[in-house]
């Protein structure tokens, strides 16, 4: 029988977006750097130097600049994050085929199928990966190694940046016991404070010290799960297949409130232009388009409409943008934010159509455009509606929405 090994690995890139920017421009290393939207955006990622000054995520940029006036703010326009992320996970796959990508900068590996005989071999392999990711991509990554996902994940976050924590088999409970109870997933700041104040539970070990009845009265029906977590038990496997995206969305907070309908419609159409290539790349079609607007007082409204049959073509959705925006934007007040969301995602139909010669042509055109515009941040061909009169094709402002990958959440809901 093979000995139990700490073969479940959690990898977590350190300040990923900042690290990508620092790799691009090494002069940013060692400085107080943050990636985030200007003026009214939020901080998406902050360097450890910036964090030391009190910058955290997600924090409004304006406040970050107040607590850390010499913060170097990099706007996320450059993009390229998903490319770096993909290369990082590609490197992981040179180690083991069992890679679970959780988000752009974090995931699990299972090294059990790799035939390592000792914990030292596993450790050496993962250290090699950590080095390789740094050598090839200049991205610092923290690793946690344990016998299950829960403990590996807590371990990886323990000594950031460039952490490397191994929890030997059998030592899971011992490892967790002295940690703050807030390290357990699902126990957030408020719960943590309430547990300390009302029940005197501060450390994981305090949970284990309580009897069953008491735990039930504190945590309610989920108490067994909490107790199992506190003991470091978890049997979820590392899953290589990810759920398909349920929706594709993008939003933009304007630098200053905008009251010009045409300008906002242009921004929203620009989002349609960015999201549909992603939908096509996934081999999907969308049925429903929803437009959300947010007013300066954060009140918001949404309006959506569905096509009779799902589509992956811009031409089918363009006519909906204006009317939806008009329907959602009912107050006579400028807007702070606009967002576009595609839902009702279906697999691209394999059923051939009879009178679809035009659609086929459009789809071919879209395919060519997608290839031309493949390089992030360098849209080679753009639609006419993205051009602002009186401005060049590459001028920024509100005419051209930045490919704000940070807010482009491809919500994956189980």
């Amino acid at each position: 029988m093979t000995p139990r090994l700490p073969a479940i690995v959690h990898l977590d890139a350190d300040a990923f977006f900042v690290a990508v920017e620092q790799a691009r421009d090494p002069s940013l290393r060692g400085k107080k750097v943050a990636v985030g939207g200007r003026e009214r955006g939020i901080i998406a990622s902050a360097s450890y130097e910036a964090r030391a000054c009190g910058v955290f995520t997600p924090m409004p940029t304006a406040r970050a600049l107040k607590v850390c006036p010499d913060l170097i703010l990099v706007s996320p326009g450059g993009g390229g994050y998903s490319g770096v992320s993909r290369r990082m996970f590609d490197l992981c796959e040179t180690l083991t085929p069992v890679v679970q990508r959780n988000s752009i900068d974090e995931g699990y590996l299972d090294l059990a199928p790799c035939g390592h005989r000792t914990a030292a071999e596993v450790e050496a392999a993962v250290r090699g990966l950590q080095r390789k990711i740094w050598d090839e991509l200049q991205i610092p990554v923290s690793f946690g190694l344990a016998t299950n996902r829960l403990v590996a994940q807590i371990a990886s976050k323990l000594r950031k940046p460039r952490g490397f924590v191994v929890v030997p088999p059998g030592a899971e409970g011992e490892f967790l016991a002295p940690l703050g109870v807030g390290k357990l997933p699902g126990i957030g700041g408020k719960t943590e404070a309430a547990l300390a104040e009302r029940h005197g539970i501060r450390l994981v070990r305090d949970v284990l010290a309580r009897g069953e009845a008491e735990l039930e009265s504190i945590f309610g029906r989920g108490w067994r799960e909490v107790a199992a977590m506190a003991r470091g038990e978890d049997d979820r496997p590392v899953q290589t297949e990810h759920e398909d995206a349920k929706s594709y969305s993008q939003q933009e907070t304007f630098a200053a409130d905008i009251g010009d309908f045409a300008a906002i419609e242009r921004v929203a159409k620009g989002m349609v232009d960015e999201l549909l290539p992603a939908i096509r790349a996934d081999g999907k079609r969308a049925r429903t388009l929803t437009v959300k607007v947010r007013y300066p007082d954060f009140a918001q409204e949404t309006h959506g409409r569905s096509l009779a049959t799902a589509s992956d073509l811009e031409a089918d959705f363009y006519p909906l943008v204006g009317p939806l925006l008009r329907a959602a934007w009912r107050r006579r007040s400028p807007l702070r934010l606009v967002a576009v969301r595609f839902s009702g995602i279906e697999d691209a139909s394999a059923q051939l159509e009879m009178f679809a010669a035009t659609d086929e042509k459009r789809r071919r055109l879209a395919g060519v455009l997608d290839r031309l515009n493949k390089k992030p941040g360098t849209a080679a061909v753009r639609r006419g509606h993205q051009l602002v009169p009186g401005q060049g094709p590459h001028s920024g402002a509100h005419g051209r929405p930045q490919p704000s990958k940070l807010t482009q959440d491809r919500a994956r809901r189980p």
């Binding site: 394999a350 159509e353 009879m354 009178f355």
Partner: protein, 374 residues
Amino acid sequence: MKFKINRDHFANGLAQVLNVVGSKATMPILSNVLIEVGKDHITLTTTNLDLGIRVKIKADAKETGAVTLPVKRLATIVRELPNVDVTVDASANHQVKLASGGSTFRIMGIGKEEFPPLPDFGDDKVFTLEQAELITMLRSVDYAQSTDETRYILNGVYLSFRDNKLSLVATDGRRLALVSKELETPAASAGHIILPAKSVAELERMLGKGGKLKISFNDRRAAFQIATDKDTSGLIDHIYLYSKVVEGNYPNYQQVIPKETHQRLKLERELFLQCVHRAQLVCSEKANSVKIKLTTNLLEITAQSPDFGEAHESMAVAYSGTELQVAFNPAYLLDPLRALTKDEVFLELKDEVSPGVFKTLENFVCVIMPVRLS
């Protein structure tokens, strides 16, 4: 207004017209049937403004006049009356008394003045057809109509009277059914209409009660006079059906019918239908296709859905062409197979991205677009 009528005749007459009612909110009178008393008959009329139906039933008139009554409730009541003799008597305030045996009903009606009149038959372009023939033709194409309201042009059956031919076409953009027959079409009367799906359904219901029918149409409307000479339940003269037509250009259907035949095989319709039907049992909403594989003298039908399982059917056929595979939505195969009545059908195939074509010897064609093989 007063008349005496046979309960079953009255019920049958109401059954003919009761499907055609308008929305109650906008015009309440559209949920009513207009009852007009003639000499030896009564006339029943309903309309929803897009479509209207009028039938005549034998009745013993005591006093002429007219009234309108809620058609659905009236039809239910008449069906349930205890005695075959029914007398109907309307007072000046449109209150109607219905008596049969020991039962008496008083029903609130609305005066006939508000009831929108049905336009006349018209003398635009007129053709006379056999009812039996038209109903067969309608049934062999009607399943292919689109129900997608955004493609309203396809929400009906296209009738073309041209080139000494009557052609009926229906398509939803994924399959197309066409049937035609010879018919003299003088240049002055040549033309076409798109008859809306609802009117097609009502027309099919009305046909078969007599020998002939007459159709008249122009760009905006069509009207049908349907003889009731074979009816034995009280209908007299003819049924009149008036319908607006779908306005717009029907797609050029000729271009999607393959001109050449590549591989052709003769199939026993019922056998093939059963095979496809059984294979379809494993299909799911996400995996809704059956694959047809042709090799020398063998036709195989397979279907599978990842979360359930698979089916394999085989049938011997006379085939010596090249081996080929193509997949279809099973419903698109089953619909024409069920609608046809002949024992034999021909299926023409080319390759996995070309349409399959059902044909019979009687000017019937059904073109079905394939599902891309994964």
